[in-house]
Amino acid sequence: MADDPYQILGVPRTASEAELRTAYRKLAKQFHPDLNPGKPEAAERFKRINAAWDLLSDKDKRARFDRGEIDAEGNARGPERPFYRDYAEAPGAGARGAHRYQAEGMSAEELEAFLAQAFGRGARGRDRRGEDMQYTLTISFLDAVNGVTRRITLPDGRTLDVRIPAGTEDGHVLRLRGQGAPGIGKGAAGDALIEVAVAPHRFFRREGDDIVITLPVTLKEAVLGASVEVPTIGGPVRLSIPPGSGRGTRLRLRGRGVGGHGHQFVDLDVVIPPGAEPALAAFLRDWTPEHPFDPRAEMLAEAEA
């Protein structure tokens, strides 16, 4: 696979030779197979780093790669038809005859005024802040709720310990100052922006600082009431189910939400016994409810309207 050699070395396309060499040396040291006996993947990485360096350290090859004449493996690309752009955009004085089609750009004064306004008068200085780098980090639901520290490896080989505070929500972006691309000249380094993706949990859902869970209970527990164990984000706790509960009953575990601010809400789901229950069936056949009702009455009326 022909990967972008600039990406492999973790340098921008504008990197100078010195920057290239520094990046290469650092990575080569880090991934040299003899220095990584326990990591079989280091050899492969080292090979790719070397190939990228071979290409980019050769001025001629690098220029040809930049112009798209050869790919990352040094193979020539098929002879391509030169487009007008290739002439109009030719570096330096331009292609032979380029002046024939030269239009007027902005006048020097216009350009000067534009730049001064856009970047301030000192904009020609050589110091520039490094770019922000964006990453995504996926963590589990419970790690997001309770907080966690994760180590991530950046494309340039650095590792970062990222502290994810308790209660971090899906899509939250953490900013690590100075951990982005290095600045140019005296410019400060950019920031690392880490977007946190929270994987959903099988049982827990989050609503703001509250946690919601659906808890299956037996028919008997629902009718007679019971004390049952319920999982919470801090471990299981006992919950008493009042007699006569059912679907639609929402119970609250105070203070068991995110960061102790919210609560955990428990929605009950009554489960009918899985096997045959002749005694229950016989009872229901002879049973006349004291408060007869039609649970579908409202639904039918509204669907008509």
Partner: protein
Amino acid sequence: MTLSEMLALLDGVAAEELTGWVARGWVRADEGAAGFEFLDIDLARARLVRDLRRELDVPEPAIGLVLSLLDQVYALRAQLRAVLDQASPRG
């Protein structure tokens, strides 16, 4: 390149069509003793005009406008690049 060399490289463009482009200034050519003299850039330019007409269906009257806008874009890009080259620590 002579006119016939150009036409050989410009698939499906007739001689009168190309000379028409030259007459309108869309494609430039030097006038030598043996007729038109074209450069590589003129061939690329002629191919651009052909693509605009044939593949992109740009109507004839609009070609001049398209080319003029393109030339302005290239001029601005060149200026901005020149500014960048000056501002960047590496030539």
